[in-house]
């Protein structure tokens, strides 16, 4: 007796199709399988109702908007807490915590062009000399902050705002200001523009 022949004759009805000599019984699906199938239908009704029909849940667009809004709110809150004006930046420039943090940022990033001495071109660097009282793009603390944040693209000063973030820029500005003092004589000479 061949062990491969069925030991019982098929009692189920056979489906009419035959592929490569293979026939298919018409058996009942396992109940657990049917249960998962019906469960997905029930889930679909709930999901569809929640998101698409009754619009109870937020759609992707709304979800992204909400996330962006919360990020912006956080940013705003951070800005609001660090009051950004000339006086507060001067104040930070006398605060050793800010100055030290700024020194680290400055020496790793800004010093490439402005040199660790801050003297820039005067010290063989590429960037402007930040030690003099003569400025190119304005010497008020807020001017420095804006120059660092938005850059001077024509001259090659990149916009550091998106790279470093506000906190590190404020610290670096405070570090630069620590070499200056409030009320010092200040002049602006755009003509010498980094050359």
């Amino acid at each position: 007796m061949n062990p491969n022949t069925p030991t019982q004759p098929p009692e189920e009805p056979l489906r009419p199709h035959v592929y490569d000599g293979i026939r298919e019984f018409d058996k009942r699906l396992p109940n657990w399988w049917l249960f998962t199938f019906y469960a997905t239908i029930v889930f679909w009704v709930g999901y569809w109702g929640y998101y698409e029909w009754l619009h109870v849940g937020p759609n992707n667009h709304q979800r992204i908007e909400k996330a962006i809004a919360s990020i912006e709110a956080e940013k705003l809150a951070a800005t609001a807490s660090t009051k950004l004006d000339n006086a507060s930046l001067w104040q930070m420039s006398r605060n050793p915590v800010f100055v030290e943090a700024g020194r680290a940022t400055f020496n790793s990033i800004c010093a490439t062009c402005h040199k660790e001495s801050l003297r820039g071109v005067a010290d063989g660097g590429i960037g402007a000399n930040l030690r003099r009282e003569v400025w190119i793009h304005g010497g008020n603390p807020l001017d420095l902050y804006n120059t660092a944040t938005n850059g001077v693209l024509a001259k090659g000063m990149p916009a550091w705002g998106p790279v470093l973030g506000q906190k590190r820029i404020i610290e670096a500005v405070a570090y630069v200001l620590s070499y200056h003092h409030e009320g010092e004589p200040m002049s602006i000479q755009p003509a010498v523009a980094g050359k």
Binding site: P3, N4, T7, Q8, P30, I126, P158, V163
Partner: protein
Amino acid sequence: MEQLPRPTLDSVTTIREDGSRRFVYPADVHGRFTRVRRVSGLFLIAFYLALPWIKVGGYPAVFLDIADRRFHLFGFTLTAQDAWLLFFLITGLGFLLFFLTALVGRVWCGWACPQTVFLDHLYRPIERWIEGDAVQRRALAAAPWTASKATRRIVKHALYFAVSAVITHLFLAYYVSVPELWAMMREAPASNWSSFAFIAVATGALYFNYAWFREQLCIIICPYGRLQSALQDDHSLIIGYDGRRGEPRMTVAESRERGSAAPGGAGDCVACSRCVSVCPTGIDIRNGLQIECIGCAACIDACDEVMVRLHRPKGLIRYDSLNGLAGKRTRWLRPRTSVYSVLLLVGIAVAAWAFSTLRPANFGVTRMVGAPYFVDKEYVRNQFFARIVNKRTEVGRFVVTVVRGPSDLRQTGFSGVVDVPPLGEIVEPLIFQQPRPDYRGPFQILVSVRDEAGKFHLERQVEFLGPDPRLLREEEEEEASHGGTSR
């Protein structure tokens, strides 16, 4: 009490005609394969569960740190940038599966798959311990609900649940490390809501799988089990019944009646159905190779035991190929195994090459946003950001230099040795200047980073850009003719 019907090739034993589930109560089995499987199974469980605890190079042997996108594997630390290696890992495992299945059939299912390993060596022993052997288990299932039955069932399911919870927690430890897991476990669920939900769902799924679902996963859900059926042929090693030797099967009494009349008329199979009663998927191996068979070898041990008792040779059910069982020669070397092994070898070679290109750091040079170049009185200038990612767990000391470029090219930034913290990265400006009169059009610069000890280096090519050199010359001439006074 419901007895298993005679298994057939036409239906799945574990699903009744009305679609409801029929549980199998596999009988105890002893023998060499059972023994080796028990040892290897317990070793595998210990191995799986120990991986997050063993430290290799300061990190757990396996720590897939999703949060920081670092993957510690047996002392190797891979970062997100190395994710492409996954391709080789997955295809490599795929080819290995092809090759092994063509050669030795479903050894993975019976010997190494976590489904089988955890079920056979953790959950079934618990069941055996609480509810007794197959006969007692079947009797208990059929018995009316009494306090004793309820107690046994509650204890059993509580243990199942506890084991599932332990497995799930250790599984999570693969992703968050053991100390972090322990820290999370001591906090309220709400403070680690997503992890808690994961643990709860995964524990529930494991519990359901091992307490109720069991062989249904292998028979109906697992794509891998199905795939293997297509990878085998008549020469692949399977567990099979030697019909030529066993048939016609008859009980010892029957063969004594008839066998004396016609010696050799009776096969070696004594129709004791031991092979059927020990099968965890409820098939009759004597019907031939079936999709339900996970290759656990329980029927081999069961049949050998009977054969030894009857002083007949072992191996009526054995590991053999379909050809071998039919009395033909089994060829190990054949087109299928050759192709699979070539694929496997190519895969291994490429994977070995890929892993050998892994460097302890990554290096990238990208042009800064803004104008591509700047021209001042003396220089043409290009500005880049260089990023160094240190993939080692110690401070990396790196040197960035130009290995190919004009000799008068001036590099600013990355002067001297730069330190990159362990598994950290730095992004700093890297600026190149060429004296303006020397600029003759765009050229390539080859920048390299090497570690201070000179053990490895990586190179990146960037293009130095500038204005049309003719414009520069014109401007210079103009300046010269005006004596430089015009500006």
